[in-house]
Amino acid sequence: MKRSYYLFSNGELKRRDNSLIIKNTRTSKYIPVEDVNQIYVFGEISFNSKLTNFLFQNNITVHFFNYYGYYSGSFYPRENLLSGDVHLKQAVNHLNFHKRLLIAKEFINSASFNISRNLKYYNRKGITLEFQIKEIDFLRKKINNVNSIEELMGIEGNIRKIYYSTWDFFINQNINFKKREKHPPKNWINSLISFINSLIYTTTLTEIYHTHLDPTISFLHSPSERRYSLSLDISEIFKPIVGDRLIFSLLNKNMITHESFIEEFNHIILKDSAKKIILKEFDERLKQTIKHKKLNKKVSYRRLFRLECYKLEKHVTEDTKYEGFKIWW
C-alpha cells in the first residue's frame, strides 16, 4: 500500500531518473515514487517544475505547513479522474436546497454518533458521563427536523460544546480545556486539536483526489470558505474516531504534554519533536485495519475515507442513498 511521507528537514526535493530524492548538505535519500501517496512538507523544501510535473504524473498530492505548523495549502495535481456526469450531479445536489440539506444532515448525524460513541466508551470505563450522553442524544434527535444549514450548524455547535466540556474528566492531565479556539489557538490543547484536524483534512483531501468528486462543491460547509470545503464536510465524520481518539491516547499516555509546546509571538506551537510523535501515531492509526461488514474484507482506516467518498459519489449519481460512516465496534 502507498504511504505518506513527512519531510521535516530542509533541503531539496528532486526527480532523479524515475524516482524521488531528497537532498541536503549532509545526506541524500531516495524515496521510491511508486510508494508515495501523499507528501507532507514541514521544513523548508525547494523544488523545481521538473519535479512538479513528475508529481503530476504520479498523482501525488503535497501538503504544506508553515513555520508555526499550521496547514497552509496543498499541491493538488490536475484531476485525473474526471466525470462530467458526477460533477454536474454533485452541483445539482448542492444547488437543490432539500438535496443539500439531506446530505449535510447525514454528515452531522454520523459525526455526532461517533462523538457520542467516544463518550460511551469512557462512560463504560467508569467515568460518569451519562448526563452529557443523554443531552447529546437529545440534540441528535433534533437533526432530522432542522430546516436550514444554519440550524444544523447550531445543533452541531451545541453538541461540540458539551463534548469538549467532558474532556477534562477523562484526560488525566491538567489540560484546562474550556473552549475551542482557532486563529490562533490560545491554549495548547486547542493548538493540538488544530494540528490534528489539519491532518484529517489533508488525508480526506488526498482521498477525494482519487475519486471523481469535486473537492470544492460541498454540502454542509459553504463552498465560499476559500478551501476545499468538501474535505471539511467529510472530515467531520472522521474527526471523532481518528482525530480525537488519537488526542486522548497521546495525552493519556503522556506522549504529548504541556512541555511539547513553545510559546512564540502570541502563538502556541508544537515542537518539531512533538509533531514527529504525533505524525508517527497518526500514520500508524491510519494503517490499522478493521474487518468491514459490508465489503467482507479487511480495510484500513485510511481506506474508510475513500469509501466515504464512494458512498457520496453513489448518492449524487442516484445509485444508493448516502449513509455516513458510523463506528460499529
Binding site: 498523482n59 485525473n80 479522474l81 474526471l82 466525470s83 462530467g84 456526469d85 458526477v86 482519487h210 471523481h212 459490508k294 465489503l295 481506506r303 475513500r306 469509501l307 464512494y310 458512498k311 459519489e313 453513489k314 449519481t317 442516484e318 445509485d319
Partner: protein, 157 residues
C-alpha cells in the same frame, strides 16, 4: 472496451461509459497493463482505428490481442470479433484474429463467421441502450468475478 465490458458486467459498462473508472489503482489491471506492454516488445504496438485499439498487427494479416488470463475468455473473444467486424466494415476481409495469453503460453485463432455479425450488431444495440439509460444497472453479485474487480469497493459499499 465497451463490448468487452458488456460481456462481463453491464454495470461496469455503464459506470465506465460515464467516465466513472476505477482501474488505475487496481493491482490486476496494473499487472495486465505491464504484460501487454512487455510482451512482444519487438512489435510496433497499439494501432488506433476508429474507436478500437489493436494491440499489434502482423504482416497485415493478423490482429493480435494480448490478455493476462483466460478467465473472461468469452469477452476476450467477443472483443477480437468486434475488431474484425470493424475492419470488415472498412473492406478488409482476409484478416484473422489471434488471442494471446503470453503468461499461459496459449494463443488462439479467432475468425468471424456469418452468425457473429448478427450477434455483434445486437450487442452494439444493447450497449447503446444501457449507456443511454439514466438508471445504473444493478450489481451482478458474482462472488468470483466481483471480488477481483477494480469496481468491487464502489459497487459493494
Amino acid at each position: 472496451m465497451h463490448i468487452y465490458y458488456f460481456n462481463i458486467c453491464k454495470r461496469k459498462l455503464w459506470l465506465f461509459s460515464h467516465n466513472l473508472n476505477f482501474e488505475d489503482e487496481n493491482i490486476n489491471v496494473k499487472i495486465g497493463k505491464i504484460i501487454e506492454e512487455e510482451s512482444y516488445s519487438n512489435q510496433k504496438k497499439n494501432y488506433l482505428i476508429d474507436n478500437i485499439n489493436i494491440d499489434y498487427i502482423k504482416r497485415n494479416k493478423t490482429i493480435h490481442e494480448i490478455k493476462k488470463s483466460n478467465s473472461f475468455e468469452e469477452a476476450n473473444i467477443m472483443q477480437i470479433k468486434y475488431y474484425l467486424y470493424i475492419l470488415t466494415k472498412y473492406g478488409l476481409n482476409d484478416i484473422k484474429g489471434i488471442l494471446e495469453y503470453p503468461k499461459l503460453y496459449i494463443r488462439k485463432e479467432i475468425n468471424l463467421d456469418k452468425n457473429d455479425y448478427i450477434i455483434i450488431e445486437k450487442q452494439i444495440y444493447e450497449i447503446y441502450k444501457i449507456i443511454n439509460n439514466k438508471k445504473i444497472p444493478n450489481v451482478i453479485k458474482d462472488n468470483k468475478i466481483c471480488k477481483k474487480c477494480a469496481y468491487y469497493e464502489y459497487c459493494y459499499i
